[in-house]
Symmetry: C2
């Protein structure tokens, strides 16, 4: 156990799906776009400041999640970003984009739109991730 | 030599400063924000699809550039992103942000603003990068 606490805004906006490669795996509550957020358990706020082992785990998590989002969820493009201008806790967005989605080709950040998930949709997506991410994904209770 | 060709839109919008860890290092022509773009020489369009060696070089280049942007150019926050909705050629933005810049805290992508560099400003910035990035940076002619 660690004393790591998820930023309240991330906790409010997202479902916690579990951990991927040891990072918290969140799902933005927007069922129009597969929008994941990875949160390394660290107090550092910049990618370059992470330890080599945490940089490696972060890269592995980003790649595994991107691959599933593209190959299983059929996204046409993956947007990956660490921004953090509003929420300083380091977090990496992995977003599956479609040329038909509500804000294509604009970035999703700050774009209005989206609708919340149903509980069944989140459960279905979690099951899909379990199937395709393997043992590196540990689902939350 | 390779037959890699830089996307025309990137070539139009940016200065080519040289290479960093073997990736093309571009500078967006906007002197209000230190906005770099790294372009791996590949036809792949997603980070997860890069070879392990190119993933490693990309991570090293992003980290080195982020560190200089923060520690030498004194940016308050680093924004790192691979988006590619408009330009499909894989490219990674490394952007130094300031709480006083023209679009803070919004992301820079799509935000209006910015003014072009003078030739002297680009030369000065290139000299700074040479000093702080070391041998991994090879300046263009």
């Amino acid at each position: 156990m660690t004393d790591f606490t998820l930023d309240p805004r991330l906790a409010h906006d997202c479902f916690t799906l579990g951990t991927l490669c040891g990072l918290r795996l969140l799902l933005m509550n927007n069922n129009q776009i597969p929008w994941f957020i990875l949160v390394p358990e660290t107090s550092e706020t910049e990618l370059f400041a992470l330890s080599p082992s945490l940089q490696k785990a972060t890269g592995q998590a980003v790649c595994a999640l991107s691959r599933v989002t593209k190959e299983t969820l059929n996204a046409e493009k993956i947007n990956v970003a660490a921004i953090g201008n509003l929420v300083s806790q380091l977090h990496i967005h992995v977003v599956g984009r479609f040329t038909t989605d509500y804000c294509w080709p604009a970035p999703v950040w700050g774009a209005p739109g989206g609708t919340p998930y149903t509980k069944a949709e989140v459960q279905h997506l979690t099951t899909t991730l379990k199937t395709h991410l393997g043992d590196t994904f540990l689902a939350a209770d």
